[in-house]
Each structure stands twice: as structure tokens, then as C-alpha cells.
């Protein structure tokens, strides 16, 4: 069971990419992309977890007690919020595509031949 978190993160990575490749709707595609993104958070936090470790916040926990790794929490915390706005940018592009092409199906955009 000790490799379950890594397996789940690899599964989310691949299933999200599967959704992106198979998608027939740009908004669906962007949400599948956010699933791929979630897999990186699961992996980062799983890597930094330590058995019996408390959260690295010493508001009520005595100093020096065993904690989880604070660095991965730092990396993930900012990334979660930032990726939300990147998804918003992709959604804005999808809405633009619909306005210009009249469809959200990525296969019908295809003005970029050759």
C-alpha cells in the first residue's frame, strides 16, 4: 500500500491526458487539464509526507515535534491558486474560439493546415 499515492498521481496524470486527447469540447478539455494538474499536487504532497508528522504549524503543537515537510506544502499552496487563473485564461481562449468559430469542438477549428 505504500505506493498507492504515487500510483494515484500517475493514474490522474494519464487519465487527464486521455480526457484532453479525446475531448470534443474545449471547456471539457480545459477541465481535464486541471485533472492532470491535480496529479502533480497529489505527487508533491505524497512525497513530502512523514509518518506521524503533524502539520508544520506550531500554533498549538509544541516546538520541535515531528512534522510533515513544509517545503512541499509551500510549493503546492501557491500553485493551486495560480493554476486556477491559468485555467481561467484557457477558458477565456475557449470562449474566444467559440465566438470566432461558432463551435467548441477542437477538431473543427483547424484553420492551421500544413
Amino acid at each position: 500500500m505504500t505506493f498507492l499515492p504515487y500510483a494515484v498521481s500517475a493514474w490522474l496524470f494519464l487519465v487527464g491526458l486521455f480526457g484532453v486527447v479525446r475531448s470534443r469540447n474545449l471547456i471539457h478539455l480545459v477541465v481535464c487539464l486541471s485533472v492532470v494538474q491535480a496529479s502533480t499536487y497529489v505527487l508533491l504532497l505524497a512525497v513530502g509526507y512523514r509518518h506521524g508528522g503533524a502539520a508544520p504549524i506550531f500554533a498549538d503543537v509544541p516546538l520541535g515535534s515531528r512534522t510533515v515537510d513544509p517545503v512541499v506544502a509551500t510549493l503546492t499552496l501557491t500553485d493551486v491558486v495560480v493554476e486556477a487563473t491559468v485555467v481561467a485564461l484557457l477558458l477565456a481562449l475557449a470562449v474566444q474560439a467559440h465566438k470566432r468559430f461558432g463551435t467548441l469542438d477542437p477538431d473543427q477549428l483547424g484553420a492551421m493546415r500544413g
Partner: protein, 84 residues
């Protein structure tokens, strides 16, 4: 690896797969909200409360809101195009 963590991981995997296999974006936004909540619980179980708080506000509230609003704009334009 406590039982709660294993369950949280399974729920996240199932929810993520559900998000991918929901073709209709409006329903997918709701499933994505559930997926965001399951991720927040997982991060909470992984002793990362800061990230759990971020994920709750982003994954459960902000992201689905943005998806639904983008859909509303697209549907509105389709309606407008059918009217004219």
C-alpha cells in the same frame, strides 16, 4: 498509510476519472467541484492544511464558477445566434 488516507486516495482517483468521463461540461463542472472537495480532504489528511484551504476555495468554488460562467457565455451566444 492509515486507512483514512487510503480511502481518500481512492475517492480522489474515482472522482478524477469521473471528471474526465463526463462529456457534458455543465455536469462536468459539478463533478469537478466534488473532485476539488475530495482533493481538499486528501490534502487535509496529508497534514497540509494550507493547501487544503486553498483547494477548498479554488477547486470547490472558484473553478466551477468560472466553468459555469464560461458556459453561460457560450450558451448565450448560441441562443443569440439562433434568434438572429
Amino acid at each position: 498509510m492509515t486507512a483514512v488516507q487510503a480511502v481518500a486516495l481512492i475517492v480522489v482517483a474515482v472522482a478524477g476519472t469521473a471528471v474526465v468521463f463526463t462529456p457534458d461540461p455543465s455536469r462536468q463542472a459539478i463533478v469537478a467541484s466534488v473532485f476539488g472537495l475530495s482533493l481538499a480532504l486528501l490534502f487535509f489528511v496529508f497534514q497540509a492544511p494550507d493547501v487544503a484551504l486553498s483547494q477548498i476555495t479554488v477547486g470547490t468554488v472558484a473553478l466551477p464558477a468560472m466553468i459555469l460562467l464560461a458556459l453561460a457565455k457560450v450558451r448565450r451566444r448560441e441562443r443569440a445566434r439562433n434568434d438572429s
